[in-house]
Symmetry: C2
Subunit: 398 residues, 2 copies
């Protein structure tokens, strides 16, 4: 199998953008092409687009060829749009990775995009109910905020996690976001400020929640041979897995604070890559809500189950702690344009490895990074691992 | 790279179904599981779902995990929904193929589904404008029927293709569809009947067009080792490519009857597989309109450019002719539930290779099959090649 590297990364400003879906695509495309000046566009043979619900938000489907046209790409090997809701972007990276690993593709463009803030905000917001089993959870209004609120309540009940500890996740990510010019929110916050923000679903207040965001991000992936021609700092894909429990409708799920699929996925990923949790230097994790990041510390093996609150309180997920978690500000600061988020995480990893981030959020000497997305009501967990210094053969099988 | 086989296939009746989207998923799932009685569902580690616009037609996104729940699948390796409009199903097969070829997955479920006939038929139909560049072609009503009508007009002008030759494609496919109990339309038709049907877009009448259809189809794909345990008649994937011109908006396209991307894709596929056009025994091609199949004969190399009309008139695309094209009735008879069509084509190939079709539409002795989808206004072409007797290493690279 061929080794695969990210050789270029570009991103748009995330936020409530005065820009169309197409504008965002072109902005991210321009950014990624400028990042790989040696690349002749004709070398790109494949295109994978992560997008969650353009059908509802911009009345457009069949988005992959539209991206090809907007960016002037001729596909001669593989093309698709991938969708797994909040993890749509990472699925596009994975498809490109497999395509290059086999030799089907040599150079692939991967682009994630979402335009969620539109004139029709009632449609934008109500369309989020389509992410769950619409006729059960959706019809009953059981969308993400109440789900993650219940997960938080259960975690607080079982493990003594405090409301303040939840808020500390936002404080950390807001601090790092303040050094990220592409983030939707760039202001630092305090625990008090998080607690004072308006209630969304108890115990989660507004500042515990990620936002409805417009944005796009793009990557160029290439085979080892091509990568060496295109960049001096390729970022290698070391592995990637996804785990999903058959239970999808929430009343079929068990204890909402036990993310067993993530626990298993992490074990699977570490085995594939030949590392342990303690070897991870940078973790981009899916902090769609503050409670998510706390549970992720645990299920990813950064601390023991139930000790996620203590982990943030003791500063272990800050740069300089046991593992730097979301040094780019995470979803909480960047916002969460569904299809772009997974690509934005990879962009952050690339910028970290190259040292192209402000020093206040730079993880010096990082060699191993993981990126995690969840989708839906945390039933699905999506993981990738990256390294800057270790091009190694990937052990795809078990 | 590992060899990959289809080891099971199942399908629902296609048509205007008194069945929900979820019913269709379960019906196809039941069919495919019954087709592989030795399979323990726990062996399935990955799931790929082809679906075009469930967001608009059934108000549901994040459909892959919903399929997992409905069919009781625990994913431990890879999951995604794929979308490339009319070719969404084939993209799911391709993702599964790459996943198994690398060793990431061992056994994958691939399912395609679309529920297009709903209470809101104005939404169902108007949503088709989202397939093109909506703000140009869509806003001007330039959807599939007028596009393919113009392609037909140009082909008739340049090559002398006759109205009757177009109709003959429907006559052939209706005949084979009459022996397919899963097809939406199972009545034979005559050239006169096609010509007499109501005008849609000159020269295309109703019977020149495929329909708005509900349906689902599913496959089990496995590595060679697993395949040998699960079936005596594995159908091997020999290769697959996709070609797309950067021109997507129709006023950026050239001569509408020259499908250059398909010409190049066919050449690429044959080179990958080590065959020539004349070696193809069964061709499942994307006859969304009668003119499509005629142009496809040409671009796939079954006849010379411009001679597609003569090819059908002389019976060369019938069973017993140079190549059996759409022996299951094609899209014209089966209908075209977008996400399911690509999987339905693979199902037909499996049934042909096994000899599990009525003798009137059986291609005896077939060894090589190809499946072709187009999407959008024929800017994108998607090809796969299959064989029953030749497990061979795939030459992924060029």
């Amino acid at each position: 199998m061929r080794r695969v590297a990210i050789v270029g990364a570009g991103i748009t400003k995330f936020g409530v953008r005065e820009a169309s879906w197409k504008d965002l695509v072109q902005e991210a495309g321009k950014a990624v092409f400028e990042d790989v000046p040696n690349l002749d566009k004709k070398e790109i043979d494949s295109l994978f687009v992560g997008a969650a619900q353009p059908e509802r938000w911009v009345f457009q489907t069949h988005v992959a060829p539209l991206v090809a046209e907007l960016l002037g790409i001729n596909v001669t090997r593989a093309i698709a749009r991938t969708e797994v809701a909040c993890a749509s972007g990472q699925a596009a990276i994975r498809y490109a990775w497999l395509s290059i690993a086999t030799g089907l593709s040599d150079v692939a463009l991967v682009l994630g995009v979402e335009k969620m803030n539109t004139k029709f905000m009632n449609v934008s917001q109500s369309s989020m109910i389509n992410v769950g089993n619409r006729e059960f959870d959706g019809a009953n209004g059981f969308t993400a905020p109440p789900f993650f609120a219940l997960a938080a309540q259960r975690h607080m009940h079982d493990y003594g996690t405090t409301r303040e500890q939840l808020a500390m996740v936002r404080v950390k990510n807001a601090e790092y976001g303040s050094y990220n010019p592409y983030a939707q929110f760039q202001k630092k916050v305090t625990v008090e400020k998080v607690l004072e923000s308006r209630m969304v679903a108890p115990p989660l207040t507004l500042f515990d929640c990620s936002a409805i965001t417009d944005g796009a991000a793009a990557l160029i992936l290439a085979s080892q041979e091509k990568a060496r021609q295109l960049t001096d700092t390729p970022v290698w894909i070391l592995g990637g897995v996804q785990h999903v429990s058959a239970a999808h409708t929430t009343n079929q799920m068990g204890d909402l604070s036990q993310w067993v699929a993530l626990r298993k996925a992490a074990k699977d990923l570490y085995s594939m890559v030949g590392i342990e949790a303690k070897d991870v230097d940078v973790a981009e994790v899916h902090d769609c809500f503050t409670i998510s990041e706390i549970i992720e510390y645990e299920e990813l093996g950064f601390c023991r189950k139930g000790e996620g609150g203590k982990f943030i309180e003791e500063g272990e997920s800050y740069i300089g702690g046991k593992v730097a978690v979301n040094p780019g500000g995470g979803l909480l600061s960047n916002g969460h344009p569904l299809g772009a988020t997974g690509i934005r995480q990879a962009w952050e990893v690339v910028m970290q490895f190259r040292g192209e981030v402000p020093k206040e959020r730079y993880v010096d000497g990082a060699e191993i990074a993981i990126a995690h997305n969840l989708s839906g009501m945390a039933q699905l967990h999506h993981l990738m691992a990256y390294s800057v210094n270790r091009p190694q053969d990937v052990k795809f099988g078990r």
